[in-house]
């Protein structure tokens, strides 16, 4: 019974914490411009993230170590420094986009320009991390994030052509604007295979004191949570295809997002969208902030835990404080949150190999994972994801130039 509860809570947490500004914006743009044709990108990204999250959880549960710990130990400082710089920079960009997302939600709700909300939002994020425990952030915010399930309800109500939805799950070539099609596909993959998700998940496994006995639970949570999470992204895409595309809206501005739910739920739809956007981005902002602080502290061997008082880990607390300040600045200076989102998702896709390649080595290292090493199937999947990551790294920048506009 206790295990069932743990699994249920884990899945709820993963589902509630899955959606963020990147997955909402990229799925909405995909539906609004290419109807149901890009569902395959979400499915592919979902499959990749299930495997990566499962492996990072298994690694932490068995070895008692997080991914940055092991990357520093096995790959040395020079590789860690390279990964730290790239991942830190990309995560900061994603954080800026998420903070922008919360600010946009508040602008939609109040009519006050989003840049005015940057400082209060940053303060709230900092306060929750400063005063809260890991459980408050992981479970509390994620449970609130379940409001994003309204997209699934909405997608069901609009009666999409289900045969076309299934057809969209199979990759097809674009009928028009190929560069844009592939750019959005790459951005969806960047939003789905976010390194912050599996780095945060591995730190969470240590915070929650997972042991070898959690290997099975981890598998169910990773598979269930990421699958249902991807389902919400697909629902956003369906809504955009059914409601935005016929109206000629291409999600070039966040003010178009409420049209995803208003035709289905009326005025309530507007508020559901505002709450979903605000809560999803707020949760993601906290997770990314913590992930940057975890990455720094774990890589340099400092004391870290969100469950300790800030005074007991001054460097860790200092890093997340500075991170929030840096993440807030773009919104404060009025940088368009949608531009930040699209750019940060592309940057994530372009830098994926740096954080995914270590999986292949660490998940086969007996000194860490002992009998829980990857089998041939998991290794084949990781190799495929690495190949995909290298392709994304090569094609992202040209696609950003030719299809990003």
């Amino acid at each position: 019974m206790k295990k069932l509860l743990e699994i249920a809570l884990g899945i709820v947490t993963s589902v509630g914490g899955f959606l963020e500004i990147g997955s909402i914006a990229t799925a909405a743009q995909a539906g609004a411009e290419f109807s149901l044709q890009l569902i395959w990108a979400i499915v592919l990204g979902g499959i990749c993230i299930i495997f990566l999250v499962e492996q990072s959880g298994r690694f932490a549960a068995v070895s008692g170590r997080t991914l940055p710990d092991a990357i520093r130990e096995r790959f040395g400082f020079n590789y860690f420094a390279f990964m730290y710089l790239i991942l830190g920079l990309v995560s900061l960009m994603v954080l800026a986009a998420e903070i922008g997302g919360v600010c946009v939600a508040l602008e939609l709700a109040t009519g006050v320009g989003f840049q005015w909300w940057a400082l209060p939002v940053a303060l709230v994020i900092w306060l929750v991390i400063w005063k809260g425990t890991f459980g408050v952030i992981e479970k509390g915010v994620s449970v609130l994030g379940l409001i994003t399930l309204c997209f699934v309800v909405g997608a069901y109500i609009v009666h999409p052509p289900w045969n076309q939805v299934l057809h969209g799950a199979v990759p097809t070539l674009p009928q028009h604007n190929a560069a844009r099609y592939w750019f959005i596909a790459v951005s969806i993959l960047g939003a789905s295979i976010s390194p912050y998700l599996f780095f945060f998940y591995s730190a969470g496994a240590i915070e929650d004191e997972w042991k070898e006995t959690h290997v099975g639970i981890n598998r169910v949570i990773a598979t269930g949570g990421m699958s249902f999470g991807s389902l919400i992204s697909i629902a956003v895409l369906i809504l955009a295809a059914m409601l935005l595309l016929p109206r000629g809206l291409k999600v070039q501005h966040y003010s178009e997002l409420p049209m995803l739910l208003i035709p289905v739920f009326g005025t309530k739809g507007f508020w559901l969208l505002v709450a979903s956007l605000g809560i999803a981005c707020l949760g993601a902002s906290m997770e990314i902030t913590l992930q940057i602080a975890y990455l720094t502290a774990q890589g340099f061997g400092w004391n870290w835990s969100e469950n300790q008082r800030p005074l007991a880990e001054a460097r860790f607390s200092f890093v997340y404080t500075v991170t929030i300040i840096l993440g807030m600045l773009p919104s404060l200076f009025g940088l368009d949150p949608l531009t930040m989102t699209v750019f940060s998702m592309a940057a994530t896709a372009a830098t994926l190999p740096v954080s995914i390649v270590p999986f292949l080595f660490l998940m086969n290292d007996y000194s860490y994972v002992r009998k829980y090493r990857n089998g041939w199937f998991s290794n084949a999947v990781v190799l495929s994801i690495i190949s995909l990551a290298f392709v994304l790294a090569v094609v992202t920048i040209p696609l950003q130039i030719f299809g990003g506009g």
Partner: protein
């Protein structure tokens, strides 16, 4: 034991399991007619930067000296270490060593001054 594989970059904890940092460098002593002897491990940012590039390390050390900050890394004698699987335990008290100098400075000067810390 293989020094690079089993010691370098491993987590260093003190006896009370307080995290001190990582093994940023290993010092070998060469004496005439003797095999190289492992004398110390080093913890410190200048050691790390030297591993990236000796020019970066020198520049950082100069910058620190100009601001009256000691660039010297903290050395722990090899005899005070227990090397475990992916972990190094040092027979010292972390808070009394320079390894936590910045942690204690931030605690006192910055974090400790914020309400609720």
């Amino acid at each position: 034991m293989e020094l690079i594989r089993d010691c370098l970059d491993k987590q260093v904890d003190d006896q009370a399991k307080r995290r001190m940092g990582r093994v940023d460098g290993i010092i070998l002593v060469l004496e005439p007619d003797q095999p190289p002897r492992v004398a110390y491990i080093e913890l410190g940012v200048t050691t790390l930067m030297n591993r990236l590039s000796s020019r970066v390390g020198r520049t950082l050390a100069r910058w620190m000296r100009n601001r009256n900050i000691s660039p010297d890394p903290y050395r722990i004698p090899w005899g005070k270490l227990k090397i475990g699987l992916n972990q190094v335990i040092a027979e010292v008290e972390a808070e009394k060593t320079p390894a936590l100098k910045w942690e204690l400075w931030l605690r006192k000067k910055v974090i400790g001054r914020i309400p609720g810390a």
